[in-house]
Subunit: 272 residues, 2 copies
């Protein structure tokens, strides 16, 4: 759409990545060529060539019957075997296991990614849970859910404001949303040091989260507990918070020598 004139190449890599993003957004069902091309903002011809390359590389699969393209298992496996940024997952894994065992609830490890939070790891508890974060790798808007909220609340003010400004429109899709109430919630989290309950968008579900901060006080990640409202009553909450805080602090001191620089401060919008 915004491509001007010319008949020359304007970067094959960004286009390919855009296609990958489109396919990822389409879910397990996959997408037709035309649709993917449109979503990625590429001409069908280019989309065809690029997707063929990606198929050759094993990153994309094509369903033989309906020609739908989808992200390939190879891709999945590659990432899973790759470890993860700074070995955060390996470092935190013991903590998650311990928390899951001692509390008997499902534990999440979340990190920030642009205007979203991503679930890096998850330890199932015995009680089935519904959560925004969903599976490992799942993304959620920064500010939705306790873990996500814990990260947002501890961001430096400038960054926090930018995220809020960007996310407010997106949050409207989650139902009636009140900015004042939202900001109040953020304040509360920053002051208390933990995020609990949240907006109650998932009926019957509840959670607590604390952030893992680096030396400068910037949030590296968040540990989050997902459980039911009955299990997270007013009596038990303080205990859980205390346990989480202790583990989060232990982790913080463990991974302190980390300073990851993202090249571009403002990232792409994600969806279109």
């Amino acid at each position: 759409m915004d491509d001007v004139s010319g008949g020359g190449p304007s970067g094959s890599l960004p286009r390919a990545v855009a296609l990958l993003r489109a396919l990822a957004a389409s879910g397990g069902g996959g997408m037709r060529l035309t649709n993917a091309a449109e979503t990625a903002g590429v001409t069908p011809a280019s989309a065809h060539r690029l997707l063929r390359m990606l198929v050759d590389e094993g990153l994309v699969e094509q369903d033989a019957r309906n020609k739908h393209y989808r992200l390939g298992i190879e891709f999945f496996s590659l990432a899973a075997r790759a470890g993860n940024p700074g070995n955060l997952r390996e470092v935190c894994r013991p903590t998650l296991l311990r928390l899951s065992a001692s509390l008997g609830d499902t534990v999440f490890l979340l990190v920030r990614s642009g205007y979203d939070a991503v679930c890096l790891d998850r330890c199932e508890g015995p009680v089935p849970i519904r959560s925004f974060t969903g599976d490992i790798g799942g993304k959620v808007i920064l500010g939705v859910g306790q873990g996500s909220m814990a990260i947002l609340a501890h961001l430096p003010e400038a960054e926090r404001e930018e995220v809020i400004r960007f996310n407010l429109p997106r949050l409207l899709n989650f139902g009636p949303f009140d900015e004042v109430f939202f900001r109040k919630g953020i304040e509360q989290v920053r002051e208390s040091g933990y995020a609990a309950r949240g907006t109650g968008l998932l009926p019957g579900m509840a959670g607590v989260a604390v952030a893992i901060l680096d030396r400068e006080g910037r949030p590296l990640a968040a540990i989050s507990i997902g459980t039911t409202v009955e299990r997270l009553n007013a009596e038990r909450l303080p205990t859980v918070v205390q346990v989480l805080r202790r583990e989060a602090e232990a982790l913080a001191t463990k991974i302190n020598p980390f300073d990851v620089a993202l090249r571009r401060p403002a990232q792409h919008a994600g969806s279109f």
Copy 2:
């Protein structure tokens, strides 16, 4: 190395993917530019440009202190949505949870990927388990382990033979291997409809698996139980097999109306 003459571009996408593969192979620690360039077979200059692009896309992160490049969170988030044909994972998740809860063992969901099987999902049981498959995303040679064996055994004969021929050399790395015995095992699995015990390569560990077949009898995936030899005694085995069979058939009928496209032309509603 194998690049011929000229000074012209020979495809930026393959090079970028090669770099991603190199970074993935390096684990969470990351790699230096030179090292990555060498591993990927690219000149340092190109590696630098490509990596910068990838950083801009969010697929790669650069450690501010070491300048080490490593895969970024975006990459993991994307990959987590990959390899999920027909939302297999979401569809099977409840079953896995149910099985894990009722049997008290660890449950795996495996799918085929070329000559290997990949672990798509995994539900931990209370008993710690060692398995070839390992974590989610883990790969294992088709034929090693029960789930993997269940898939292999139910492949159409031509395909099966091809896989066996390709994998036999690879299997030698797993210790003394007897082709006759191996083929006999495959036959047994196909006849009985389940794979149990297997080769006993992991001392103390045992497992059972059944395949999920589509309408034409081709294996879509396999559900596998990992446990200890004590827990999977001759007395309990039939029960477990029966439970697995029932769940597998239920899943099969659930996934079978694979021609979802028949109903409505545009239905990419997606689950947000």
